[in-house]
Symmetry: C2
Subunit: 456 residues, 2 copies
Amino acid sequence: MKKYALALAALSLPVAISAQEAGSVSLPDMADGALTQDTIAWNFVEGLTTEVGPRQAGTEAEQRGRDWAVNWLTSQGFQNVADEPFMMDTWVPGELASAAITSPFPQPFQVTPLGGSASTGADGIEAEVVMFATTADLMAAPAGSLDGKIAYISHSMTPTQDGSQYGFAGPARWVGASIAKSKGAVGTVIKSIGTDKHRNPHTGGTRVVDGMIPAGALSIPDALNLERMFERADGRPITMKLVLTPEKLGMTRSGNVVGEIVGRDPSLPPVLLACHLDSWWNGTGAFDDGAGCGIAAAAALHVSHTGQPLRTIRVLMAGAEEVGLHGSVAYSKAHIDEPIGVAFESDFGADRIWRFESNFRETNPELHAQLASSVARFGVANSTIEASGGADINIARDQGTAIIDLQQDGTRYFDLHHTPDDTLDKIDPAQLRQNVAVWTQVAGILANYEGSIKGE
Amino acid sequence: MKKYALALAALSLPVAISAQEAGSVSLPDMADGALTQDTIAWNFVEGLTTEVGPRQAGTEAEQRGRDWAVNWLTSQGFQNVADEPFMMDTWVPGELASAAITSPFPQPFQVTPLGGSASTGADGIEAEVVMFATTADLMAAPAGSLDGKIAYISHSMTPTQDGSQYGFAGPARWVGASIAKSKGAVGTVIKSIGTDKHRNPHTGGTRVVDGMIPAGALSIPDALNLERMFERADGRPITMKLVLTPEKLGMTRSGNVVGEIVGRDPSLPPVLLACHLDSWWNGTGAFDDGAGCGIAAAAALHVSHTGQPLRTIRVLMAGAEEVGLHGSVAYSKAHIDEPIGVAFESDFGADRIWRFESNFRETNPELHAQLASSVARFGVANSTIEASGGADINIARDQGTAIIDLQQDGTRYFDLHHTPDDTLDKIDPAQLRQNVAVWTQVAGILANYEGSIKGE
């Protein structure tokens, strides 16, 4: 295990958690040390965003991200590091994105294509904009009532700590374009599904039901401006020139990057720590989800540093999450016959963890209580909510195995999510370290747990 | 004066300051009423940014802004409303703006052309980037040392209430390109002169000394990323592909919009309330300076509503301020022989006024003290700093007349200044009203002052 100690020292960790022989530091001391001293998670996300930057799924940029991650994991002493390939149908945003009001109040707006958007062609489309307050209002529009029009959905979103308003406002993005198309619309623009007030529109995935029309998101200030235009237009039609030129590249290669801290008993089902490595093209994928991969990798290394764990800890850096969970699906398909002991993921930014949830509170109450109690000192509360896991751990749901959710504070997550503003400077190093501390504590207990984690 | 009362009522002002006969409300009561009830300033800036939007100097968009302002001032009952034309040499930003690192860490950055920037042509330039910590370091570079290179200046800026760091960091923008050109550089990029952390680069004016090279500003997150690249490059050259395609349109028409509340004695030198109507193309000119024009116009109307003032109040909405104070210069040239009694302007956003300054504290101490004392209740402190006025009141400096500075809180001004984020939603209506209240109080005292305001 000496090599982990050296790798840690190379990242300039202070004496308390780096310079001693592996195994001489207890798990709680290691977690406490990570809270104030971890540099591994930062090093990962700083390096990835600086040396690679945006990593749109299925593109050569995502491949550069995988290559970078493979090198980094190897350099840190992870074993069985691999880039496990899968093929995917790849969409890219293209070169042009503009939305200008042409009448009665001509001015340019900031727009971004939504994932899967069709192209308007370089010449764009110009059409009257029809405003809907919510997705439900759009759904209620008569068939054919939007023939030749652009539908605008103004549904807005409020910051919430648990991120729950994503489910409330998200449908405008997820299904707005499909619904508008079914009513005859030639395009859709939505108010960005976000909570900021910057001229940085939020992209994101869509569900393509029956073909696709050009679909974009306006920045929130522009959306508010459009709504004021409707108030001032006195019934005059508002027309927009929309130019979006996404392209479909056909089947291209993506992949999942994995690396392991091999346990003393490799026959025991491993602990799976997950995140995703791809990002939307418009930001650098720092909050979403470079930070998550840094947290997972740092925790694995810190646990290894307390001595070789009983179970293998596997880090899964999934590919192509943003555009439809391709990596998570591919990983489950490839590994469905290899039982996982427990899985959890980090994919909600880099702000502090505030709540602990599991799906084994009733089946293994002692372990649940032990884990919850072990992270209370980091300000993490126990919860009766049943953990359901995130996008990157399909395999755990497919296998019906144990799942944990270490819920992060999402109050500002949707200020940054899927925008150009998802950059390293948004990460608070102290909160990032709190994530690493909690993950180290939880992963360390689980990696050394002898029984059935789910307890059934 | 009945028509002002009606105009005010049309903007839905509550009873206290609108529904009574003009002259029946005292000046202090009117100012107090504006603090909680003014809607005029908001109506102006909301209408201008919604119905016109960006107003780049010398373009048809600026002309639409003037037309809008002329109509608005007329509808509010201003007299002698005019659009006073002048000609200017006009620069526009063009269609393309991109800056991508091509080696060793390829990724796209957000860039905006600086005012006056030359064009790279649509094919752009690709060159090694040389980093300078400050403008002084760039100045110290030997002649020829930047042949064929792109100079990057990393000088950064801290928020200050009085905006004083603009003078500290600003030279990187004002003269960086000219200095870099003199050393042989083929382009310049600077860290945006701003205090935010968003992917919205700050444009702004430059001083063209001896021809111009392509000059852009990176957003602050991108600039920080570039600086991290230098740390990670281990001496390998960092190359950038820069594409900026500004154009010069030659001489085009701009203009100053004026409107008056005519006083009882038009022979007395008027009170000049100034702001500027143009904005950079990338935002909607809400904070800079639609708000300022709204404040000035609202104050003039509120004063008129306390009874016809002794002196004329003239509102000057200058054109083409951003690109070189063309409107202010043209106004002074056209009106230099018409004495002004006192001038002040609003051109520092829409946050609260916190300090009162004049240039007649020693020559007319009683009036200075009366004015300072009259706004103390709005949280405005007296000051011994000598007012120097802002960009839009050249005429007052040229005439050596009385000047007042009603200093606004600039703590977040440089988060928004010259960026796409300069939009209506950034304006806090309560702070905007405090500006109107202070302006109403000060303008009302001055417009009814019988003696020489400067007191010399």
